[in-house]
């Protein structure tokens, strides 16, 4: 019996898209949504483990509206073996989603869970921790290198003054960050096959949870530009002028 890896993914606004608000909520209905690049690193690591140990199974999980299927299809096209979508229209907080992921991991008898160290939209950085807490598993956060030998996973992550190394016996939750690896692109044959792979839908209600945190309203910060251009021909005069702007007009400096 090979390893069972759960790669938790999220669907977020494409980085090029601008955020639209409708009725106080972010409205993605007419925007391009993509698989969060932050989650691609974990998926890539999972696939590398499967490349080395072909009996490994990689399952992609998403929690959210029906539209998340697109992101899961992308994960399947990149190489996940099958996918699970826990469907809900309710905007859930990160702790609740962590609870769902933990329950799925238990049911799936996962050995290893990957998720992004942060999320392109929430940026809560609490997701992996929440899953680990619900499962009472160890977590390695913000990993920058990983290596699996048997059921022992060693890894490193950066700290302010250097790096720390870890080792952990599975099961464990791993959070990733940019630079951990170079995520692969979906291949054309895999894109065509992705449709035939299993994508199981479950309803959020069946988890017996309700989010205790309620979203009330989102609004977009309005940024006004001053459209002032400092003539840079004379360097020191320009610097002088800039300091004056910053002090007197924008009050950025005192």
């Amino acid at each position: 019996m090979g390893l069972r890896i759960l790669s938790v993914i999220r669907q977020v606004l494409d980085a090029e898209e601008s955020v639209r608000i409708k009725d106080g909520m972010v409205d993605p209905s007419s925007s391009k949504l993509v698989l969060d690049t932050m989650d691609e690193y974990g998926l890539e690591e999972a696939l590398r483990i499967r490349d080395a140990q072909p009996e490994t199974e990689v399952v992609a999980l998403a929690v959210g509206p029906a539209r998340c299927e697109e992101a899961l299809r992308t994960a399947l096209a990149i190489g996940a073996d099958r996918a699970i979508l826990v469907e809900t229209f309710e905007p859930l907080d990160v702790i609740t989603v962590g609870n769902v992921a933990a329950q799925v991991a238990r049911k799936e008898q996962s050995d290893l869970i990957f998720c992004g160290g942060q999320e392109a939209d929430w940026d809560s950085q609490a997701f992996g921790a929440a899953i680990a807490e619900y499962l009472n598993w160890p977590q390695l956060t913000w990993t920058t290198a990983l290596n699996l030998e048997g059921r022992t996973l060693t890894g490193t992550h950066d700290i302010d003054e250097g790096t720390e190394s870890f080792s952990v016996e599975l099961p464990a939750v791993i959070t990733t960050q940019q630079g951990l690896c170079e995520p692969r692109y979906p291949t054309l044959p895999n894109i065509m096959k992705a449709r035939k792979k299993e994508l199981r839908r479950e309803s959020f209600e069946s988890f017996g949870l309700h989010s205790r945190l309620k979203f009330i309203r989102s609004e977009i910060q309005v940024k006004e530009r001053m459209r002032r251009i400092v003539d840079g021909k004379d360097g020191s005069a320009a610097a002088q002028q800039l300091v004056e702007f910053l002090r007197n007009e924008t009050r950025v400096i005192g």
Partner: protein
Amino acid sequence: MAHLFSLTDEQQEISNVAKKFAATEIAPHALEWDQARHLPLNVIRSTARLGMGGIYVREDLGGSELDRLGGVLIFEGLATGCPVISAYLSVHNMVAWIIDTFGNESQRKAYLPRLCSMESMGAYALTEPGSGSDAGALSTKAVRDGDTYVLSGVKQFISGAGVPGTTYIVMARTADTGSRGISAFLVEDGAAGLSFGAPEKKMGWHAQPTRQLILEDVRIPMQNLIGEEGQGFKIAMGALDGGRLNIAACSLGGASAALEKTLRYVTDRHAFGKRLADFQALQFRLADMATELEIARTFLWRAAASLSERSSDATVLCAMAKRFVTDVGFHVANDALQLHGGYGYLLEYGIEKIVRDLRVHQILEGTNEIMRLIVSRSLIEGLK
């Protein structure tokens, strides 16, 4: 005709992958490659891992076995990063398609794995100094000698000629019977007697070399004949149907990128106390650009679907698409330059490069006049 008005999830994903690859691996370097006259082979080869080395090739030898609509989505997507890189890949895939479609099993096995992995790149040699539009009048000779053919002549404007390890498909004359006397041959890089002219100095398409292919008594095994003697012109023209779709897709991608840059520019740039985007004349211009591109795209998809289905009007639809889409693409790119004002004329803004690159799409793979010839011939012959 399922794909006329919306893409399937798979097609959308294919388009996404090509655009993402273009945005991350191609676009950031496109101007630099243009300036350095550099063909970024390592980047191009890395598309093989995505399955772009044999887009139409059957799966048994490493191909992706997509249809023509899949192909145009890829070439449009890649061209948003750089039309020249996308077009180079298009020719490579045209060569792989010829071998997969007209080659025998041993030719397929000998060449396709290497082409799909892009260990070897493909080039297509039809045009000659004395015969461009009138390709059926070509004069490069192939003379049978025992179990070999001996090729001699000069091929003009060959895209990718001289790239190490390239596999060439060379159209040459085996009989003096006009276009019926032409045959298609596989010629490998390094063959004795094969050499190249100097890279042509061009208006655009700087990121890929265009050179003469010079054949001086190049002796190749008889097994390198594709199909039968006399089939070459049919093979060459068949390949161009798909090539025309792809070059049109390259124009579409380039022009879409130019429009996108323009949208950002006009919402940022101010004149007469307001944003350029607030002038209705410019708004209408933008609306027209977007509308024309969308019409071009929709029609290109239809032509692609017809070629996949091998419908009897496919050649005419491909010619219409090539003519229309490359014309629209060029005009949209040129309008994008205009809307950028003086900055559009500067290299740094990346617009003039697109204009330079798209201009030649109205000329190669059959000029747009020749496309009209194909269309009008079908109209007039249809009367008989």
